[in-house]
Symmetry: D2
Amino acid sequence: MHGSLTAPQASSSIDVLDLFRSVRTASRALGRPLSDADATVQSMPDASPAKWHLAHTTWFFETMVLGQHLSDHRIFDPSFNFLFNSYYESIGERQPRPKRGMITRPSLDEIFDYRAHVDAAVERLLMSDPAPEVITLIELGCHHEQQHQELLLTDILHLFAQSPLRPAYRDPSPVAVSAVDQGPAGFSALEGGIVEIGFDGQGFSFDCEGPRHRALLEPFELADRLVTNREWMEFMADDGYRNPLLWLSAGWATVGAEGWTAPLYWRERDGQYWTMTLRGEQPVDPDAPVTHVSYYEADAFATWAGRRLPSEFEWEHAAAGKPLIGNFADSDRLRPRAASPEEAGIRQMYGDVWEWTRSAFLPYPRFKPVEGAVGEYNGKFMSGQFVLRGGSCVTPPGHIRPTYRNFFPPDARWQFSGLRLAEDA
Amino acid sequence: MHGSLTAPQASSSIDVLDLFRSVRTASRALGRPLSDADATVQSMPDASPAKWHLAHTTWFFETMVLGQHLSDHRIFDPSFNFLFNSYYESIGERQPRPKRGMITRPSLDEIFDYRAHVDAAVERLLMSDPAPEVITLIELGCHHEQQHQELLLTDILHLFAQSPLRPAYRDPSPVAVSAVDQGPAGFSALEGGIVEIGFDGQGFSFDCEGPRHRALLEPFELADRLVTNREWMEFMADDGYRNPLLWLSAGWATVGAEGWTAPLYWRERDGQYWTMTLRGEQPVDPDAPVTHVSYYEADAFATWAGRRLPSEFEWEHAAAGKPLIGNFADSDRLRPRAASPEEAGIRQMYGDVWEWTRSAFLPYPRFKPVEGAVGEYNGKFMSGQFVLRGGSCVTPPGHIRPTYRNFFPPDARWQFSGLRLAEDA
Amino acid sequence: MHGSLTAPQASSSIDVLDLFRSVRTASRALGRPLSDADATVQSMPDASPAKWHLAHTTWFFETMVLGQHLSDHRIFDPSFNFLFNSYYESIGERQPRPKRGMITRPSLDEIFDYRAHVDAAVERLLMSDPAPEVITLIELGCHHEQQHQELLLTDILHLFAQSPLRPAYRDPSPVAVSAVDQGPAGFSALEGGIVEIGFDGQGFSFDCEGPRHRALLEPFELADRLVTNREWMEFMADDGYRNPLLWLSAGWATVGAEGWTAPLYWRERDGQYWTMTLRGEQPVDPDAPVTHVSYYEADAFATWAGRRLPSEFEWEHAAAGKPLIGNFADSDRLRPRAASPEEAGIRQMYGDVWEWTRSAFLPYPRFKPVEGAVGEYNGKFMSGQFVLRGGSCVTPPGHIRPTYRNFFPPDARWQFSGLRLAEDA
Amino acid sequence: MHGSLTAPQASSSIDVLDLFRSVRTASRALGRPLSDADATVQSMPDASPAKWHLAHTTWFFETMVLGQHLSDHRIFDPSFNFLFNSYYESIGERQPRPKRGMITRPSLDEIFDYRAHVDAAVERLLMSDPAPEVITLIELGCHHEQQHQELLLTDILHLFAQSPLRPAYRDPSPVAVSAVDQGPAGFSALEGGIVEIGFDGQGFSFDCEGPRHRALLEPFELADRLVTNREWMEFMADDGYRNPLLWLSAGWATVGAEGWTAPLYWRERDGQYWTMTLRGEQPVDPDAPVTHVSYYEADAFATWAGRRLPSEFEWEHAAAGKPLIGNFADSDRLRPRAASPEEAGIRQMYGDVWEWTRSAFLPYPRFKPVEGAVGEYNGKFMSGQFVLRGGSCVTPPGHIRPTYRNFFPPDARWQFSGLRLAEDA
């Protein structure tokens, strides 16, 4: 992912060792279903090869942590600094982003060796009673790697969708879909007023989640569930993709240039919509939340529905104090799920799809990037992007929190991105 | 300009007749220094021919006002609806924007005839005791035309800058420049708190300036003058355009792709900087405000200076209650001026350059576009743009006010756009 | 036009004075129906503004002739050397070709003054008993200008076709069209053998028309008339533009990328084809030769018809010894005409449309470009172009001869280009 | 390679079985040094993945031979028809060429299984006394596969050159280079006259090599060796890449757009030129023939040298009757070699680099493409390409003959393409 990391509260080296091991093991597991070729190809300039994700996150530990703080560390391969630097201008030249897919060597197996080499060194460092800032830096690296875990999955999905064979990343058997229309979403009223926004100092966060500050909200209403595929098909049937009056000007231009007529990955076959998933091509589940839609589409849908998207502050205020319950707790994830009819209140806040907000990604008051290379920095991306909140079915569970600010350009569709409606009270 | 118009308070038909006459006369005067060829050519897709501006503003009156409210109006030429519609999807097909420069006929003289034909009809309508909403609509048309007056000048400047002859739009004799370095800008402290933002209902405004609402500001400081060319040359001399750490990621990519090394129109000649102006090529005045810089450049400069750009709310709060005094009151305008050393307090708020703010152009709480064609609408542009405040040396004087929200994409440079620094208190 | 000129036989200064006056007068007449705006706009990078054609041909005389050979000549305007140089690298920097349309000043009237200034000087020079090489150079300039006369007309047609008003360059009243299907073309058998090809040394020619040399031809057959619009409509009706097997690979890619479904300028309206002409939009005449087709289309048509295009040597051999009779002798030109049923033998060789041949534009044996600036040179264009033979309805009459080699890239359509079929005997 | 195949003379099924086995074995061997990832990635739209070459050549046999002539053949995988069709429009839809690199599955091992499956079936068919046209078709497939063997190597070289690691396809140890300047090339005089050109009917050829026909040649001289890297460095030192007067117009535009300053793959390091080879990065050998230059560069070099390129007929006439001796007979190939000083006469005709000729790739007199899918056809590429003759250090030995016409666009550089000078006598 874009962005690096801000300094959290001090954690113990034992806690961080646990975190480190679990995150590194999880990445390793994500790479296991992939062939060397799967892990090498780059499907578009915005995506990166799986191998690159697995190596870059390792490079981060080797360069930012071991290179500075483990005096006798043996660099695994000096050429990797050029290959696997992402965009840290202060650390030197690097492979141009659109050419990450040209690196057929080292192989995926060599990358796994690289990971093992660095894992051993980081563990050794953590067990040697390192300074608090080293512990903090390793914790940062773990969260950084969790971002890349999600991207690895969205990028693999995009790659596999380019193949006419529509291969499955995992378990291609058909998934059961919900059968009953849930009826219209309900809307919960929220009062507004002066609220606290941003990370409160407990645990880890990225720099752009703070500083915590006050914001003034007008009263508003928020839908109690995500917009569904069923609703999206109604939008499509009502000429949603053909009516310029529903769209932002830049959005309408994109519809024309890209020929959008449905969410990314949808395909009509035998009178039914199918969509590409990490389990191969599957029928669209009408009651599951719509996903792989851009900001432009989300905004046009909200206009069509006579509503609007929430601001990121409205979303965070509604989420505050809620338990981090979501489909993401389920071990059998990889796809968004229909809202549970039994659950009360505002549902599906976490673990299905990232929710587009109407907020541009901009700095909070008094925001300052961290100094140094690790401070190359979410701030660098603060133009041309919209904030998404929540977390998706491929976000690592420990990587979800109410203050988390994800961001993408308004035409991005390859993430698990959907929407929830809001309205002025 | 982008965007149309929202309904203001009722004005009298006499007042609006005065306004109409003065606006229409001013546009006519702007066209007078131009040849038929000058007025026809389109220098880039973002710019429009002068002839088009003069005709489109007239088409607006003929289509939105006369076509609806003057039953015996004779349409001047039915083909003009295709030629001079800008982007109103609800009104039908139109000449594609990048091909506006292909319309060599009608000639500029014919456009002046068209203007006279419509002027007479609108005046007749205004003198016939029309309904209040018709008066309102004509007032809208006047403000719409004032926007295009500014664009006509910025677009002509861009066109003339493409010619190796660097022709002058008006009076090419050299202009006197200031001689004394004013020293560093001062910073005024402002308290913040809950403030009122947006149009307050007196007189005319565009839809996106409202609704008036409360906003919460932290204490901040604002520079008492604009950033000067002298300061910009220091930024350049300090490798400002060569240091990626100063730039937003998208800004740095643009620097590379476009080869930016100075503001638009600057050219080094004989060891000195010259810049293209509406009076032909002139030496850069060190103490005049820098202009023709993009948001990306403004943001990089602020980072280099250890400051930041103000938010649009900070700007508006600082401007509130101040008299609308600016260089723009001077009859000999067309270029930004050095700040007056005698003046106290925050200077140069109006009439020199549009000031980039760090605020994305987004809707205010409870904003709703107007219904119908005139409501195609500032809202349509609410993605990918930043807000500029103030008003420039080519903004019509009556078109400047503290709540006015101008907006352009972050790479736009052909407007008279500059910056003022701010800081957290 | 591309290319300059080779040294002809010596002509008398009186003859060349006559030629000069008639060519210069003809150009002046071509500019008369145009407004300043018409003459300024550039409709695509491959086309030039009419004003540019009128000025560049004048620049050629001023720079290549007067600047070298009239010692007291006063340069009309030194900036014109930058503005109106076409591509002579040895003469210095110039306005980039795609930006020729940015030059709104000087005006068309000033260009006419420029022409008068240079005309007087050249006439004075010619009347002062100049050296033979000066006479030769002026003769070259006249032929160069004739090339630009044709381009001025094809470029104006392209410009006017971009306007939704479809203005007429001259006399927009409808033209009478032929009524009777002429039946299929006849084919004349030619014997082949060793033939002489290229300019034979009498009168004027361009460098690439020589040296005269021998070529070996196999026996072949050549159609006695051009392919007609009627035949082209049959090709279209038989899915000619939808069948990839008929097309060259690069041609088929162009069909897809450009969305070709008919010759350039054709438009279906009320069940009939109309085409843009120099007399405005007119119905397609079924018996007139098809024009505004590319090499790719000509080749695909020939494949569809079970024939092939002739080589340029076959064409020249068939034309050799024939009188230069064609529709071009008619004073009321500007459009290709149906073949005359009365005429015997191979018809329509000159003055209707340029005929695509299957020959790439390559040097003849022992071809050497002329030394110096005037030798920048047809040779420079000897890649990626196909040869056209004959001459069109907008070619100046004195500019047509059997050895003339016109050339354009295989996707060019804005010239008056058509085809004649051939076959192996 | 582009193009398929024409019907040769009848060969015996035993001969063709031998040929088939040796060609198929050779392809298999070419794939052996590659990892799954190496074989999958596509480095540019003009190149194809190695896996694709290995599969497409197999698909050719399965579709064109087995599908038609072996009634009980079990198709290995029906999806492969979509994946591995190259451009046969008559056989149906296919993976778009620029997306061949998205096919990560099937793996390289599966492609080897596919090859074995088809090999067994073709061998069974050949041993079953098939009809002569079947034998012919299999022979065609073998020559088709040999074309792809060369492309596999040039495409792998291009891919490996994109990696900062510059991996070696084979044996990366440094190669010995020649040490002594050979002095200037000699020129052999040839008489010209009427000569026979094209395939004479003995053995195999592609359709575009015939029909054999007469051509008329003027007397000419031909260099007795290829242009060397030493000579090329002189051209560079003499501003060869900076002097527009040396270049074709389209070539000069390409120099500017692509930033060419040396042959493809050259890189200056520590005051010396290095070049990427199939053995990794190696120092440029001054006496080896220059390679990886485009037609534009070859033509500019010849102009600089005061010579010209030969026509393809001149080349073929000079080659006629010469033994097929070349470096290619050496088992340790993969790079072009310096000319042998001992050898007399015209040297290096075969097996070092393909030699650009000044001839556009056009049909010979009376050329007709073969009917049916196998006739989609060299003829399809007969625009925008120049002919190369000879054969390179990666051309399979049995695939070289004097009448062979290779062809590429004038800006192509990734083939082993060089040049030999010629001159008018």
